[in-house]
């Protein structure tokens, strides 16, 4: 099955082409095209996964020569490694569920086929990104997923917010992409190859200087920062929630934003060789985790809370990867998988709620549990999973991250992550209690979503419960498998994390839940307990630390001023020169046109004058010579 892994991205591509050509005719039947394509991809991906998973299986790598530049050869191909086999399964699975879910969610939309064609194109790009064996190919697909994200965020392009959000998503991630591009280019320059394997060999053989590795590592991480919404470049992700909710689930929760994490994970041997770059990743990840979580505490928009929670969880993954240890690697990728399931679940459930309540403000909902039992239940499961309550998926992966952070000596970051976990539990249950319990804030006619929407949620809910058991501390099946596949690195000695971490992690999560219950469920603790005495703190969080405003002043205004200045320069100096040349030529032409009067006698006179002058000249010359 691994040998046919290249077919996996082609199914969505085929679906995209079909929808592009016949979408108008297919109308809502477009959904079936997309669902079938992703289903086929999922089956193949499962096949490839299990084949790779089988004992003694090797990485599968196929490439053909694409370009020859001097003595350098650039390949195109695909590979199957443990991490990308896992990613293939996640992407195809979530994508398939989102395809199914969207059939209900997007029902009645005018641009239904267009939506599905974008989804298919995105799935193709994401799978291509995952399956690529070299960084150049990764970069191509990296940009393609960016384009799809742009298209899908701006799907409701008639809304100004959606337009602005799409532009923002594209531009902010571009900042990261430039870093990535420079990193890849430098890497090619230093190591002479784009291929993962060759690069890792080059690092092992000492071809690259340590500072080169660090530089490249940080540059590639900048690309991941942009894509995964890490701290300085996170602002696009919450705004991207203007897109349709299934898109948020697929792109901005489960897959595309995880691409940054995936990239770092795929380049892990490089980061293992550079402690400095890893340190940067860990710090940025830790900051992002607590920073985004603290913003999530106060947001009112259900999707934005989830978006900040996504940013925060991605920060967790980066933190884990940044510990530069095998345990961190396993923890990061493991959390990537579990997060994909429960965050997609949460988004789909949120979509279901929005679909029913026609609002995104949680304080306009309330009491929805009675009307939407399935949605409420799965949302609760998702909240428990993300809060890290035993035995849900998030429990296992989050605990591993904390363990990895602690055992690798990042104690400060460990405590930051613990606080972030408390925040996470609090705001998730705040969301749950406000939305689903209490009195209905409006006399809404909410009703349960159709089966086509609940079915994917139920599947994801099951996974959100059981997915963690693939890598329990007692039986780290996934961990062993991933570590074996980690290229070019000897398996490091494993520190087993002390058991008290589990207790602490669970404890803070339970505290968060309890506090949320008291404040929003039972309402025995006033909501204003913090916002009352410290309004600026609340405002700081609610206004997202004014990051957008700071960016507006620092970058947008400055760039605008520079742009205005350059525009003036362009208009008056560069254009001026051009216009001067134009005007001069024009005037010259006018003057000469006046000479071309059409008066034959004038011509004759001038010609004769020429003759006279010629004769005079000749006579003079003769006089001088003779």
């Amino acid at each position: 099955m691994m040998s046919s892994a290249w077919l996996i991205p082609l199914f969505p591509l085929l679906a995209f082409l079909i929808l592009l050509a016949f979408g108008r005719q297919l109308k809502e039947a477009s959904a079936y095209v997309g669902i079938l394509a992703t289903l086929a991809g999922f089956i193949l991906a499962l096949g490839a996964f299990f084949e790779r998973f089988a004992a003694g299986a090797e990485d599968y790598y196929v490439a053909f020569k694409w370009l020859t530049l001097g003595d350098k050869v650039i390949d195109m191909g695909f590979e199957v490694t443990p991490i990308n086999a896992m990613m293939l399964v996640i992407v195809t699975f979530v994508s398939m569920l989102v395809h199914i879910y969207s059939k209900g969610y997007m029902h009645g939309d005018d641009r239904f086929p267009v939506f599905y064609s974008y989804l298919a194109l995105f799935t193709f790009s994401m799978l291509g990104l995952v399956i690529s064996p070299n960084l150049l190919q990764v970069y191509i697909f990296w940009e393609l997923v960016g384009v799809c994200s742009f298209l899908l965020v701006g799907f409701y392009f008639y809304k100004d917010e959606a337009k602005a959000a799409a532009k923002k998503a594209f531009i902010v991630t571009r900042v990261g992409d430039v870093g990535l591009f420079i990193g890849i280019s430098l890497l090619f320059w230093y190591s002479g190859s784009f291929n993962y394997v060759d690069i890792f060999n080059a690092i092992q053989n000492g071809v690259m200087q340590p500072w080169q590795i660090t530089l490249v590592g940080i540059l590639i991480f900048i690309g991941a920062v942009g894509k995964s919404g890490q701290f300085p470049l996170h602002t696009w992700l919450p705004d991207a929630m203007e897109g349709p909710t299934p898109v948020s689930a697929l792109i901005h929760a489960a897959t595309m934003v995880a691409a940054g994490v995936y990239l770092v994970a795929a380049m892990y041997p490089l980061y293992l060789a550079s402690p400095d770059a890893s340190q940067v990743i860990a710090v940025i990840g830790g900051i992002t985790a607590i920073f985004a979580a603290s913003i999530g505490l106060t947001q009112r928009d259900i999707k934005r809370v989830l978006a900040y929670s996504t940013v925060s969880q991605l920060g967790y993954m980066m933190l884990a990867l940044g510990t530069a240890s095998v345990a961190g690697y396993v923890a990061g990728t493991f959390h990537l998988m579990t997060h994909a399931f429960f965050k997609a679940l949460l988004f789909l459930a949120a979509g279901s709620v929005i679909h029913a309540a026609h609002t995104q403000d949680i304080f306009e909902m309330g009491g929805l549990y009675k009307k939407m039992k399935i949605t409420g239940t799965v949302f609760l499961i998702g909240c428990l999973a993300i809060s890290g309550i035993f035995p849900f998926a998030g429990f296992w992966s989050k605990e591993e991250i904390l363990g990895a952070a602690y055992t690798s000596g990042h104690t400060g970051l460990f405590w930051m992550a613990v606080v972030a976990a408390f925040f996470t539990a609090f705001y998730m249950f705040r969301l749950f209690f406000v939305t689903f319990t209490g009195e209905p804030a409006q006399k809404n006619h909410a009703h349960e979503s159709p089966a086509v929407m609940t079915f994917p949620m139920l599947l994801l809910a099951v996974l959100a419960i059981v997915a963690g058991f693939i890598n329990t501390p007692g039986a780290p099946i996934l961990g062993h498998w991933l570590t074996e596949g980690l290229r070019g690195v000897p398996a490091g000695e494993e520190h087993s994390a002390p058991f008290w971490i589990t207790i602490v992690a669970t404890g803070v999560s339970l505290m968060g839940i309890g506090l949320a219950y008291l404040m929003y469920g039972k309402k025995s603790v006033s909501r204003d307990i913090i916002a009352g005495p410290l309004p600026w703190l609340y405002q700081l969080s609610f206004r997202k630390y004014y990051i957008d405003e700071i960016y507006d002043v620092v970058f947008v205004r400055t760039l605008r001023a520079i742009g205005y200045f350059l525009n003036v320069v362009d208009y008056y100096i560069i254009d001026g020169v051009v216009r001067l040349v134009g005007a001069f030529t024009h005037e010259l032409g006018n003057a000469e046109a006046r000479v071309q009067s059409g008066q034959i006698q004038t011509y004759g006179l001038v010609a004769f004058l020429g003759i006279v002058l010629l004769v005079i000249g000749l006579t003079f010359v003769r006089g001088l010579v003779g």
């Binding site: 071309q596 009067s597 059409g598 008066q599 034959i600 006698q601 004759g604 006179l605 004769f608």
Partner: protein
């Protein structure tokens, strides 16, 4: 003792200059044609004068002047034909208005 060559040449030169001035300044196309005839005549005088007083005086000059007269006749005929055709189309013989090539 006969009239010197220079006298004939001077007469021809004056004729030529008058003709040239007329051809350059007159606005009536017919008069322009007449002026051109004048210039051709000046040339003919020179031919004939050189036939008598030239370095190698012989009949060739006279024969050339005959050819020249023939050409002048042909030119006058064609010129007038063009003029008439133009007049029919544009009802003017003013040279200033004959600037079709400009447009």
């Amino acid at each position: 003792m006969s009239v010197p060559l220079a006298s004939y040449l001077l007469v021809a030169l004056i004729l030529f200059c008058v003709g040239l001035y007329g051809a350059l300044t007159k606005r009536n196309a017919v008069v322009v044609l007449l002026s051109i005839e004048l210039m051709l005549n000046a040339v003919n005088i020179n031919f004939v004068a050189f036939a008598k007083f030239g370095v190698l005086a012989n009949l060739t000059g006279q024969i050339f002047s005959l050819f020249s007269i023939t050409l002048a006749a042909a030119e006058a005929a064609i010129g007038l034909a063009i003029l008439i055709s133009l007049y029919r189309n544009r009802s003017t013989v003013n040279v200033d208005e004959m600037d079709l090539m400009k447009r």
